[in-house]
């Protein structure tokens, strides 16, 4: 809408400008004819008067110079036709007013006739040359004018575009600010909600424990199994809520960026999930890792989630997870690779979404937030995360982070 309006505006502007120059040209053509005639009349009469005065004291031939001067002036200021008219008039006036007998034509004198011819030729030549120079100058001026106008137009367009861009940038910034604000509100709501969800869950957990401890003797096999299902359900719910809370914490971006040794980060992450690693019988190999600028808590979470992901999607053979790194230009690439069940390429994007878990009866269910948190953490650090994997061939999660200076 905005654009169309601007376009029509510029169109009408151009029209006005063109019509204006057209009118101006028409007027100048008429007035120029009048002015030229006037100039020719005045110049030749003045030359004649001056000629008459000079011829009284000097030779008549000297007057020719006066006329030539007048013709130069006329050629410079008037049209080609006016110059020719001036040439003819000069010859006529010179013969009629200057040459004796005055006020009469005397074309018989052959030397004078030659002078007339020479004078006419010289006058015509001067007028022609001057006309050419003037034409050149005029065309040059016209071209300069044209170019100036084009430039002006381009300049105007540019100015309009710049203004539009500034406006667009402003509204974009406002939109981003709004989005950030609403995101922050949403995330704090998520935190509060998750926190409040934990309270009743703890009550359920507490009473389940109590029931198991005190009444397991009076429950039959089914009853005990049902109670186990309840306990398992609450445990899953707990990890889900914890996941949402962690995600909200990461998303809210309460970050403390500093130089962080990734080796100690990975060591901390592995010790946090030592029980899971031991239970799954996994071997985790940690290669030499660099120092990056980042938030330690978030980075610990990142490696913790990736290794847990490998454990969750392990295959029949003993799980080996390798954490390694590589420098490429200004980036550092971190690899977390395993020999697990692998991920089909169709799911390579999907797995980083919230609550996206590959449905498979073979794998235990997780919270479905782990990789979403990984993605948020990496993005908070200005990096990128992706997976390289095929079904049955293990997975390699790659994290590209900007290198610390």
């Amino acid at each position: 809408m905005l654009q169309t309006m601007d376009k029509s505006d510029s169109c009408s502007e151009i029209n006005i400008a063109e019509t204006g120059s057209f009118i101006q040209e028409k007027e100048s053509w008429q007035s120029r004819a009048l002015r030229d005639t006037l100039v020719v009349g005045v110049a030749i009469s003045m030359s004649t008067m001056l000629g008459v005065f000079i011829s009284m004291h000097m030779d008549e031939e000297n007057v020719i110079g006066i006329y030539l001067l007048a013709i130069v002036v006329i050629s410079l200021t008037c049209s080609r036709f006016s110059s020719l008219l001036a040439c003819a008039l000069s010859v006529f006036c010179f013969d009629f007013f200057i040459m004796p007998p005055r006020c009469a034509f005397d074309p018989i004198d052959p030397s004078l006739f030659l002078s007339f011819v020479v004078m006419f030729v010289v006058a015509t030549a001067i007028s022609h040359l001057t006309g050419q120079v003037k034409g050149l100058a005029d065309s040059l001026e016209l071209r300069v004018k044209g170019r100036t106008m084009e430039l002006q137009k381009a300049n105007d367009n540019l100015r309009r575009e710049v203004q539009q861009r500034i406006r667009a940038e402003g509204s974009l910034e406002a939109a981003v600010r709004e989005l950030q604000a609403s995101n922050a509100v949403l995330m704090s709501m998520v935190r509060v909600a998750s926190h409040d969800l934990q309270e009743p869950l703890r009550v359920i957990q507490g009473y389940c424990d109590l029931l198991k401890r005190r009444y397991s003797d009076s429950l039959d096999e089914d009853g005990a199994e049902f109670l186990d299902f309840v306990v398992d359900g609450t445990r899953r719910m707990e990890s889900l809520i914890q996941g949402v809370l962690n995600h909200a914490r990461v998303k809210q971006g309460i970050e403390r960026f500093q130089r962080t040794e990734l080796e100690s980060v990975v060591t901390e992450a592995l010790s946090n999930i030592a029980v899971s690693i031991e239970q799954s019988g996994a071997t985790v190999i940690q290669d030499e890792l660099p120092i990056v600028v980042g938030d330690r808590t978030q980075l610990v979470q990142l490696f913790q989630n990736l290794v847990l992901n490998s454990i969750r999607f392990r295959s029949q053979e003993p799980l080996v997870v390798r954490i390694s790194s590589e420098r490429t230009g200004s980036n550092v690439l971190l690899y977390v690779s395993d020999n697990g069940i692998g991920i089909a390429p169709a799911y390579h994007e999907e797995i980083f979404g919230m609550f996206r878990r590959l449905s498979s009866h073979m794998v235990p269910s997780g919270s479905g937030i782990g990789l979403a948190i990984c993605k948020s953490v990496v993005e908070n650090h200005g990096g990128r995360i992706w997976v390289e994997s095929e079904t049955g061939k293990g997975s390699t999660f790659v994290i590209a982070l900007p290198m610390s200076n």
């Binding site: 926190h195 934990q198 309270e199 703890r202 009550v203 957990q205 507490g206 009473y207 424990d209 109590l210 401890r213 809370l245």
Partner: protein, 138 residues
């Protein structure tokens, strides 16, 4: 040291939580007596009554929930600090919160022990025993 009965003031608005705590305390097999307040205001009023009675009998330990209506756990801790004529009573904060800030703030206001919900004999037992042993020395 277990011959003396411990008097425990439970400040908890939720009945289910309070009952769970009661059961956990029974499981600890420590001789005790429970007195319950439903929020911080109720609890501080109870302590003031005891003070005004002049009998010199106060609860030996307070188990405090943080998230409560009217006067919450943090506010109760502040009131307890500024109230005159009360003896030093150890406070065990019992909460679902994992927020470091919640815990640090409670510590600044005079919390002595911190316990995450749900309470069970396994986690509250050792704390109570510690409280009793400190109390026996005093």
């Amino acid at each position: 040291m277990q011959n003396r009965e411990i008097e425990i003031l439970v400040v908890e608005d939720n009945a289910a939580d309070a009952r769970l705590l009661k059961e956990a305390l029974i499981d600890t097999r420590l001789p005790h007596r429970i007195c319950r307040s439903v929020d911080g205001e109720d609890a501080i009023n109870y302590l003031r009554e005891r003070r005004d009675e002049g009998s010199g009998r106060f609860p030996n330990v307070i188990v405090l929930d943080l998230n409560m209506p009217k006067v919450n756990g943090h506010q109760f801790l502040k009131l307890l600090n500024t109230e005159t004529g009360l003896p030093e009573i150890p406070v065990i904060v019992l909460t679902v919160s994992q927020d470091e800030e919640d815990v640090i703030q409670a510590l600044q206001y005079g919390m002595n022990f911190y316990l995450r919900k749900p309470p069970s004999a396994v986690n509250i037992g050792p704390i109570l025993e510690r409280v009793v042993s400190l109390w026996a020395k005093a």
